[in-house]
Assembly symmetry: C2
């Protein structure tokens, strides 16, 4: 019955659960644990940033301004200019005032661990002028291609281009 005495030491030194781990030393298991954690973090980071971004878009569509700060950094920059969270909120409130049926729809989304790129498409009715164009209540369709640099899980930089030429072509 020598295995009874050996068992605690063998459990400590090797993994006996099932193949392929059977007989692997604890050093190998520790290495694997670290390696899997690295792999998991890469996968989770990527998934999380897309999910965070979808949460941000849902927040905009609900006009849930009290929660905007969950997604946007206090020090946010828009097209190279620091506007801060309050300036960002004011810009969005103004957009919804000028375009009452504004709705953000993600057409394309590419994300890595610190940056999101999104193509948003819009089908909406600006009340008056929009981007200097006399839309005046006509329904227009256009896209916005936009990049977001994150600090942690908050948007810190936005570089946006709206397809003004597409709107002009519809007027």
């Amino acid at each position: 019955m020598s295995w009874i005495h050996e068992w605690p030491a063998r459990t400590l030194m090797t993994c006996r659960h099932s193949s392929p781990w059977r007989g692997a030393p604890i050093s190998t298991m520790l290495f694997l644990a670290v390696e899997f954690q690295l792999f998991r973090e890469i996968a989770v980071n990527k998934t999380d940033l897309s999910n965070v971004y979808r949460g941000y878009i849902a927040c905009l569509n609900k006009q849930d301004w009290p929660n905007l700060g969950q997604f946007v950094h206090d020090d946010v920059h828009y097209n190279g200019q620091r506007i801060g969270l309050s300036g960002y909120r004011e810009m969005l409130v103004r957009d919804f005032h000028e375009i009452p049926d504004l709705y953000f729809h993600i057409q394309l989304l590419v994300a890595d661990s610190s940056c999101v790129a999104s193509r948003l498409d819009f089908n909406c009715t600006p009340k008056g002028t929009f981007l200097g164009l006399p839309v005046n209540g006509k329904k227009v369709s256009f896209a916005e291609n936009v990049f977001y640099q994150f600090r942690g899980d908050k948007i810190e930089q936005v570089w946006s281009v709206i397809d003004k030429a597409a709107i002009e072509a519809q007027l």
Copy 2:
């Protein structure tokens, strides 16, 4: 000298190179090999698409039209319209004719396994009109936010928005 006889079997059954592999069974090593290959393929796929895209931009900047087909699919679509490789090449040749100092510079690049998003910045001198604007030899700076959908390692769909408002503001 029993280790001499045991040695071939031990080599087959365990990895003896160095810690943490010392004593690991061959089944663990095979599992690790598969797992590392998976990890490597994910990393390589991502790296390769960025590298392919950088190769494409280098091809444009060299005006290396005979090699454009290495990067662009025969059936390429631009902003939803099928223009094909020949139409794509003609568009680029025309761009370089109308903007002799055209140079593509990548400011931001986000890639996944099938899509690239890039913010390109330009600092150039269109000879005449550009996007319907009378630039007429004035140096202008502007960005293009553009998405590329790949089929394999070739661009199949392009969705581009050029910052026309930024150019207007400089005229």
